[in-house]
Symmetry: C2
Subunit: 209 residues, 2 copies
């Protein structure tokens, strides 16, 4: 499995293909062509084959792909063949929303710790996970084998929290705060700006007429 430089768009599509295949498995479909996948998820068949080609040959010429087999390969490629432990920093509106939304659970992610600075909520629980103070962050990350940090604190606190996360040994960070964060090269950072999605719609609404 040679990995040179995989476009991020390809990775995102692989995630979407895998979800579509999961659906097909439930419908007990056994074989599928790149063309059918393409229609199912709204891309071109060449795109599907190209995306897969980065990782190997998974199909049979003249036949297509075995649904269950390809699904297995995709889950492995995406690293979803084992569980990842997550720590959430910031249990305010956005943090609790993220914790409450369980959509990640069945894709291999477990919320293993939640931190906040607000004395009033420290000690309470969110989805069965106790909200704790920042001073036990490193201890929890190490003891619970947490590799993934989710930042849902206000912008002004984001960089400080990031530094603490990095120091604690977290390997990747999902940043929901509207701040550009500095992290060392070896730490994987992904910025998710929820508002941007609505604002893109707003833009097209405002200009398409």
């Amino acid at each position: 499995m040679k990995v040179y430089k995989i476009p991020e768009a390809t990775v995102m599509r692989l995630s979407i293909y895998s979800r579509y295949l999961r659906q097909l498995m439930d419908e007990e479909k056994e074989t599928i062509s790149s063309g059918e996948i393409a229609i199912g998820v709204g891309v071109s068949s060449a795109q599907v084959r190209k995306d897969l080609a980065y990782f190997g040959e998974f199909g049979t010429r003249g036949v297509g792909y075995k649904v269950e087999e390809l699904y297995g390969y995709l889950m492995k490629i995406l690293g979803l063949d084992h569980r990842w432990n997550i720590i959430i920093i910031g249990a305010g509106k956005l943090g609790s929303a993220f914790a409450l939304y369980q959509g990640f659970m069945d894709r291999g992610f477990t919320i293993s710790a939640i931190m906040d600075v607000d004395e009033k909520i420290i000690g309470t629980e969110l989805e069965g996970v106790k909200i704790e103070a920042m001073d036990v962050l490193e201890e929890r990350v190490k003891a619970r084998n947490i590799t993934l940090g989710v930042i849902t604190v206000p912008a002004f606190a984001a960089q400080e929290v990031t530094d603490q996360l990095v120091a604690s040994g977290v390997k990747a960070i999902l940043n929901f705060s509207p701040r550009v964060l500095k992290v060392p090269n070896e730490v994987i950072l992904r910025n998710v700006d929820l508002s941007v999605n609505l604002e893109v719609l707003s833009f097209y609404l405002a200009f398409n007429r």
Copy 2:
């Protein structure tokens, strides 16, 4: 203001620039160069100027941009100079999380209606908005001047709900369900897959070693 074909990536960056300028306004900075914006949000200065060039000339050569003025232009370009009314369909985990997270409010979006099919929650409130049955959807969309629909129902119900939203006169749809939706050409559709973000991180974690 000529708008040929604006890359979506440009629109997303404009949204990010605007937020950065907002921050600079709070710090009472008056003038800024494309280079400074670039550093602030993590892109190249040519990128910043190119993005702006799609919409006009907003700066002064040798000087830069007036922070407040550019912010105003960007808000206008993004259609954030007036409010948009939103309807949320599906008040489950994801829908309530979306409603509870208020980050959109101060960017011009108002949650004006929330619908669900579950008798047990119809009639209860979420952030001061009453959860109602689907049969008053069209009535509410028209009476409350709602242009934007947010879909947070389970995958199996997504297409049906979409058809109803389109019929009610909604102009744009933000789809959180993992389904490819069919909508007429004039309706603007944007798919947001929350899980994809975690899965992209999972991919890089799994493969970078």
